[in-house]
């Protein structure tokens, strides 16, 4: 039997190396999956304890308007109504996205259709840069610029939902803008040319052709911005005033899920109801980020059809 024949039937060094590499790289990937699963497992098991071990009513938790987990209400049950924070979170998020999206679309259209040269040279790099600015910096600016401004205009302390929404608006604006720019750029060149060739004005071309074609992408950008805003903790916590009260107007101190979490988790004892109730808030955050994720997927699927 010749040597080559023999070597063909034996496992070569190359294939041993390959098995090794495959195993190593697979374990790295598996590790990431395990991390995600354990995040969900641990947060869920802590967050659900409020309802299962402490016997808090889920509906009461979601709709109750008084948040004072260390106190007991008239009915003898602990006061864990998370509605103020849930409403606070949704309000800042929606307001921020509502302001940011038109600005982002306008800027993106300006950058791609009206003045592509200046857009690429100045606005492009600046937005890219601002995407990378840490959120505490946004919080600090909110605290030193937006809060005093709100105080001067609306009176009161200046802390509140509106300040939070403004900080988030500025924070997500670069992200939403740069994502919108990407979708607008993806609209094929010949759409533009054929619209203009048919005698459409530039605005008609933008409005009827470009924006229509880019709608799914713009929606994705907007939802992505909302997801970031909803999950942002410190920037909001610094300007919202941190009062776990039902918000009655936009300029009085309020709180969000994240702000209560960052403040409270260090000041409560592990395993106590106060602590578990906070983990329930974390669970809501986790589930909402899943919802945003699914929404983005659904939009992408619809857009692809």
């Amino acid at each position: 039997m010749d040597e080559i024949r023999e070597s063909l039937l034996k496992q070569s060094k190359a294939s041993r190396k390959d098995q090794f590499g495959r195993a190593i790289s697979f374990s790295a990937l598996a590790l990431i999956v395990i991390v995600v699963i354990s995040i969900f497992y641990f947060v869920a098991s802590k967050g659900l304890a409020t309802f299962f071990s402490d016997g808090v009513n889920l509906w009461g938790f979601l709709t109750g308007s008084e948040w004072a987990p260390s106190q007991v209400g008239d009915n003898g049950k602990p006061l864990v109504g998370a509605a103020p924070m849930i409403i606070g979170s949704f309000l800042v998020t929606l307001l921020a996205a509502l302001i940011a999206t038109p600005f982002a679309i306008g800027t993106a259209v300006f950058m791609t259709e009206i003045s592509p040269k200046r857009g690429a040279k100045i606005l492009g790099p600046v937005t890219e840069l601002l995407v990378g600015i840490p959120s505490v910096v946004y919080g600090f600016i909110g605290l030193s610029v937006i809060v005093p401004f709100m105080r001067a205009v609306f009176g009161g302390s200046g802390f509140g939902i509106l300040s939070g929404a403004m900080v988030l608006f500025v924070m997500i604006l670069p992200t939403v803008t740069s994502m919108t720019v990407d979708t607008l750029r993806a609209v094929p060149r010949h759409y533009r040319e054929s619209a203009l060739a048919l005698g459409a004005t530039r605005w008609q071309m933008i409005y009827k052709v470009i924006l229509r074609g880019a709608t799914p992408g713009i929606l994705t950008a907007s939802v992505f911005g909302m997801a970031r805003a909803f999950g942002e903790a410190l920037a909001v916590q610094m300007v919202i005033g941190n009062a776990a009260l039902m918000p009655h107007n936009l300029t009085s101190p309020a709180s969000t899920l994240t702000s209560v979490l960052t403040q409270g988790i260090g000041n409560t004892v592990m395993g106590s109801l106060e602590n578990n109730a906070l983990w329930s808030l974390a669970l809501i955050l986790l589930l909402m980020s899943l919802v945003f994720n699914l929404a983005i997927r659904a939009i992408a699927k619809k857009g692809a059809m």
């Binding site: 070569s12 190359a14 190396k17 390959d18 590499g21 495959r22 790289s25 697979f26 790295a28 990937l29 590790l31 990431i32 999956v33 991390v35 995600v36 699963i37 995040i39 641990f42 947060v43 038109p102 306008g106 800027t107 300006f110 009206i114 100045i122 606005l123 600046v126 840069l129 601002l130 990378g132 600015i133 840490p134 959120s135 505490v136 910096v137 919080g139 600090f140 605290l143 030193s144 610029v145 004005t201 530039r202 605005w203 008609q204 933008i206 997801a227 999950g231 942002e232 903790a233 410190l234 610094m238 960052t262 988790i265 260090g266 592990m270 983990w279 974390a282 986790l286 980020s289 994720n293």
Partner: protein, 296 residues
Amino acid sequence: MNAKNADKIATGVLYAIAGIVILILAALLGYILIQGVPHLSWHFLTAPASAFTAGGGIGIQLFNSLYLLLITMLLSFPIALGAGIYLNEYANPKSKITGMVRMTIEILSSLPSVVVGLFGFLLFVVQFNLGFSILSGAIALTFFNLPLLTRSIEDALATVPDLQREAGSALGLSRWETVGHIILPAALPSIVTGVVLSAGRVFGEAAALIYTAGQSAPALNFGDWNPFNISSPLNIMRPAETLAVHIWKINSEGIMPDAQEVSAGASAVLIIVVLIFNFSARYLSSYLYKRLTSTK
């Protein structure tokens, strides 16, 4: 209103929006730099913080941020590299399981960083008894960093043409050898960009750290480089407040009289570091690319 007028009005409105946005963005950058840069000095960058009096610096926080970044990168790069390689080189792109794994990674990237921090607190600080420490913080930041870094490494690998993989196969090299010696070097410029950009993100992250690396910065003895001594800068079991956490901390509960100035200075440092990361990502990438294709 006819189409021409509508066009004019719309163009005007778009100019106005773009103008406002440019103004906001410029004011943002300008404010931080104008407020912060005058406050920067060698003393400010190196002196320890002071809790009750003015004139404190950010030396320890700056060191902590950099050290934590280094440990985080040491932990997350190999994992992200392995995962990226598996996803791009080995996984069957059509299989359902691959799709689910990708979705899992995407979910991790969209989790609020405060939740990732709380998970790190629960599991590592409390359960595994690591306490508020650089190690706990680095692990939390690793989780925060993994999805994006994995994604960018995977994308970098995907840009290397399949021709190179075929060339390796046809020479009797295994996929692993081809990846290690051919594909990775070719993808290096984009991998470096991804790593440096993610470093910028990690550097500025605070929410994941306040309950993992902690909010206190004990004094360090910069003459003691034995990583097992508690006051050694290299000790990974000590609590370590970073620059970003410091900004948050002094603004929400700081009582020092010059909190505003210190925050402005620290913010300026954060932004300048992020800027440096951004530029060096671009520079390094084009430098590596040139070297790779150079004719010497």
